[in-house]
C-alpha cells in the first residue's frame, strides 16, 4: 500500500488499476450474459409462437395427428379452472395464516409455522404431485381437476402466507389502536381496517403466487393428468396449458411443435402480465388505500 502511494506510477499501481478494471469488465460482462437467455427465450417465443397465434388457437380443440390447425381452447380453460380451484384452497389458508403470523405469531408457534412454510415451499413440485396423487387420486380412483387444483393450491399457501404477513406487518400500529379505541372488535379491526390498508400488498402477493403456479407442470402430471377434450367436471381429468405444451413438445410432429411454441407464448404472456401487474400494484411501496 505505502509503496504504491509513494510511487503512484509504479508497477504495483498499474497492476492494481488493472485488477480494478478487470472487475468492471468481468462484472458488466456477467450482467450482459445473464440477460442473454431471457432475451433469447423471449425472441424465440415471439418468432416461433406468433405465426400460429390466431383466433382458432383460443376457440378450437386440438386436432388429431395429421390434421392441420386446431387450438388449445380446452387447455386454456383448464388452466384457468385449475388456477381458480387452487385459489379456493390457497387464498383463505394463505391469507389467514399470514394474518395469524403478523398479528399473533410472535411466539414459538409462529416461528415453527414460519419455518415449516419455508420447508413446504422448498419441497420439489413433483413431490407435491405424488403426495396429492396418494391422498386424492388413489381414493377417487382416477385423475381429476380437483386433484390438480389441490396440488397447485398447496403450492400457493407458503407464498401467499409470507407476503401477507410481511405486508400486514407494515400497517402502522396507530391504525389498529385507533380502531380498537373506538370499541371495535379485533376481528373487525383486522378485516375492515388492517387488511383494507394492506390491500394492495396482499393483492401483489396473490398475483405473484398465481404467476408461480400458472406455469407448473410437474404437479399436474399425476393429478390433473390432461385431456384432449372439453371437461369442466371436478372429478374428471382436465387439460392444462403447460401439460399440453409438454405433450406437443416431445411429440415428433412439426405442426404440434408450432402449437407448443404458441402455447408457450400465451402462457408466458399470462405470467408476465401477472408479474408486472403485481409490481404495479405496490409501486409506492406501501400506501393506505381508502
Amino acid at each position: 500500500m505505502t509503496r504504491s502511494l509513494k510511487t503512484p506510477k509504479g508497477w504495483l499501481h498499474a497492476r492494481r488499476k488493472m485488477a480494478n478494471r478487470l472487475l468492471w469488465v468481468g462484472a458488466i460482462l456477467a450482467t450482459l450474459i445473464a440477460l442473454v437467455p431471457l432475451l433469447m427465450i423471449l425472441t424465440y417465443l415471439v418468432v416461433h409462437g406468433l405465426p400460429s397465434l390466431n383466433l382458432a388457437f383460443f376457440t378450437h380443440l386440438p386436432k388429431p395427428v395429421g390434421e392441420v390447425g386446431g387450438g388449445m381452447a380446452n387447455a386454456i380453460a383448464g388452466t384457468l379452472e385449475l388456477i381458480g380451484l387452487a385459489c379456493l384452497l390457497g387464498l383463505p389458508l394463505g391469507i389467514m395464516s399470514g394474518i395469524f403470523l403478523s398479528e399473533f405469531g410472535n411466539n414459538r408457534t409462529g416461528g415453527i409455522i414460519r419455518f415449516l412454510a419455508d420447508v413446504l415451499a422448498s419441497v420439489p413440485s413433483i413431490v407435491i404431485g405424488i403426495f396429492v396423487y396418494t391422498i386424492v387420486v388413489l381414493p377417487m380412483k382416477h385423475f381429476s381437476a380437483l386433484a390438480g387444483g389441490i396440488a397447485l393450491g398447496i403450492m400457493m399457501i407458503p407464498t401467499v402466507m409470507r407476503t401477507t404477513e410481511e405486508i400486514v406487518r407494515l400497517v402502522p400500529q396507530s391504525l389498529r389502536q385507533s380502531s380498537l379505541s373506538l370499541g371495535v372488535t379485533q376481528f373487525r379491526t383486522t378485516f375492515s381496517v388492517v387488511l383494507l390498508a394492506a390491500r394492495a400488498g396482499v393483492i401483489t402477493g396473490v398475483l405473484l403466487a398465481i404467476a408461480r403456479i400458472a406455469g407448473e407442470t410437474a404437479p399436474l402430471l399425476f393429478t390433473a393428468f390432461g385431456n384432449r377434450f372439453w371437461s369442466y367436471q371436478l372429478n374428471q381429468p382436465i387439460a392444462s396449458l403447460p401439460k399440453q405444451i409438454y405433450n406437443y413438445a416431445i411429440a415428433p410432429y412439426d405442426d404440434w411443435h408450432a402449437q407448443a411454441w404458441t402455447g408457450a407464448l400465451v402462457l408466458v404472456s399470462l405470467i408476465l402480465i401477472l408479474s408486472v401487474a403485481a409490481r404495479y400494484a405496490t409501486r409506492g411501496r406501501y400506501r393506505i388505500v381508502r
Binding site: 492494481r16 395464516s97 408466458v268
Partner: protein
C-alpha cells in the same frame, strides 16, 4: 414506520378485547388455518414414508447403492438418478456462480443507481418463466446448438473421458446449462441483497485507506457477505435439485452412470416424471415414492443450510448497521 410495535397482543390483554368472544373465535380460527402448514408437512412425510415402506423393506440399502431400473425383474437401485441429480446440479452451479456473482456485484456496487432496479427486474423475470418453457426452448434451441459444440469438443478434446462418447445434444451438459439459466436469477437476487446489506462503513474504510473498488470488494465487503453468498448458492442448488420438467426434456433419460458429460442420464425428479404414471405394479410405485422421499430429504437438508446462512448474514449486517 420504524415505530411499529411488535404485536397487538399487549393491547388486547389490557382491554376488554381479550375477553371478547368473537375475537377469541377469530384468533383460534386463524391459528387453526395456520396449522394447516404443519399438518400438510407432517402428512407429506408420513404418507411418503408409508407408501415407500414395501420398497424399503424389499430393496433395503441396495436401493441406494445399486444402479439398475428393471421393472420386469423387479430390481430397483437409484444410484444413477442420485448421481445424475447431483452432477447436473453441480454443473449448473459451475456455470451459474461466476455469472450470478458478477451480475450481483455489478448491480449492487458498480452500476449507476437508475440502472439497478430495471436490470434486476429483467434478471428476476427469468425466474418467472415456467420450467416447461425452458424445456421447450432447450429441446429446439439449446440441444441443436450444443450438438454442434459437443461435436467440436469431442473432436478436439476427445481423449478426456469427460468429452467422449456419441453426441446427441441431449445429456448431462445440456441439463446443467438449462439448470444454470434457471437458478441464475435466484443466486443473483439473493447475493445482491446480501451485498447491499453490507454496511457502507466497510467499503468507506477501505476506500479511505486508498483501496480500489476491487480491493475493497475482495477484502472487507466479500468477507462480510461470504456466508450470505454461500447461502444464495446453496439455495440455488436446492432449486436445481428439485427441478423437473426442463431437465426431463433435455437430459435424455437413460438409467446409467457415465463419465462423459455428453451422455444421457437421469435425475430423481425426471425418473418420477417419466415412470410414476406408467408404474405397473405395487413395488415399482413404492420404489418411486421412496425415490421421492430421498429427494425431499436431500432438498430439505440443502435448503435448511441455505436459509440458516442467509439469515445469519443479513442479521449480522443489520446489527452491525445499527451499532
Amino acid at each position: 414506520m420504524a415505530s411499529i410495535a411488535r404485536s397487538p397482543r399487549s393491547l388486547s390483554r389490557q382491554g376488554i378485547w381479550g375477553s371478547n368472544f368473537i375475537d377469541r373465535i377469530f384468533r383460534s380460527s386463524t391459528l387453526l388455518l395456520a396449522l394447516s402448514i404443519p399438518v400438510l408437512m407432517i402428512a407429506l412425510l408420513v404418507i411418503l414414508s408409508v407408501m415407500s415402506a414395501p420398497s424399503i423393506h424389499y430393496s433395503g440399502w441396495r436401493f441406494l447403492t445399486a444402479s439398475i431400473w428393471d421393472a420386469v425383474h423387479s430390481h430397483y437401485g437409484i444410484l444413477f438418478a442420485i448421481y445424475g441429480t447431483l452432477v447436473s446440479s453441480l454443473l449448473a452451479l459451475l456455470f451459474a456462480i461466476p455469472i450470478s456473482l458478477g451480475a450481483a456485484i455489478c448491480l449492487s456496487e458498480l452500476a449507476p443507481r437508475w440502472l439497478r432496479n430495471p436490470v434486476s427486474f429483467l434478471i428476476e423475470l427469468l425466474a418467472a418463466v415456467p420450467s416447461i418453457v425452458y424445456g421447450l426452448w432447450g429441446i429446439f434451441v439449446l440441444v441443436p446448438f450444443l450438438r454442434v459444440v459437443e461435436t467440436w469438443l469431442g473432436e478436439r478434446l476427445g481423449y478426456i473421458p469427460l468429452f467422449q462418447g456419441s453426441v446427441t445434444g441431449y445429456g448431462m451438459l445440456t441439463a446443467g446449462m438449462i439448470l444454470a439459466i434457471m437458478i441464475l436469477p435466484y443466486i443473483t437476487s439473493v447475493s445482491r441483497e446480501v451485498l447491499t446489506a453490507v454496511p457502507s462503513e466497510q467499503r468507506e474504510a477501505a476506500y479511505a485507506l486508498g483501496a480500489t473498488r476491487w480491493e475493497a470488494l475482495r477484502g472487507p465487503v466479500l468477507r462480510y457477505a461470504r456466508s450470505g453468498i454461500m447461502g444464495a448458492i446453496i439455495l440455488g442448488l436446492g432449486r436445481a435439485l428439485g427441478e423437473t420438467m426442463a431437465v426431463t426434456m433435455v437430459i435424455g433419460n437413460r438409467a446409467e452412470i457415465s463419465s462423459s458429460l455428453f451422455s444421457p442420464g437421469y435425475t430423481l425428479p425426471s425418473l418420477l416424471a417419466n415412470e410414476f404414471v406408467e408404474a405397473s405394479d405395487h413395488l415399482q410405485t413404492a420404489s418411486l415414492v421412496e425415490a421421492a422421499l430421498i429427494l425431499v430429504v436431500i432438498t430439505l437438508i440443502i435448503n435448511s443450510i441455505a436459509r440458516l446462512m442467509i439469515w445469519k448474514a443479513v442479521k449480522a449486517g443489520q446489527t452491525e448497521a445499527r451499532a
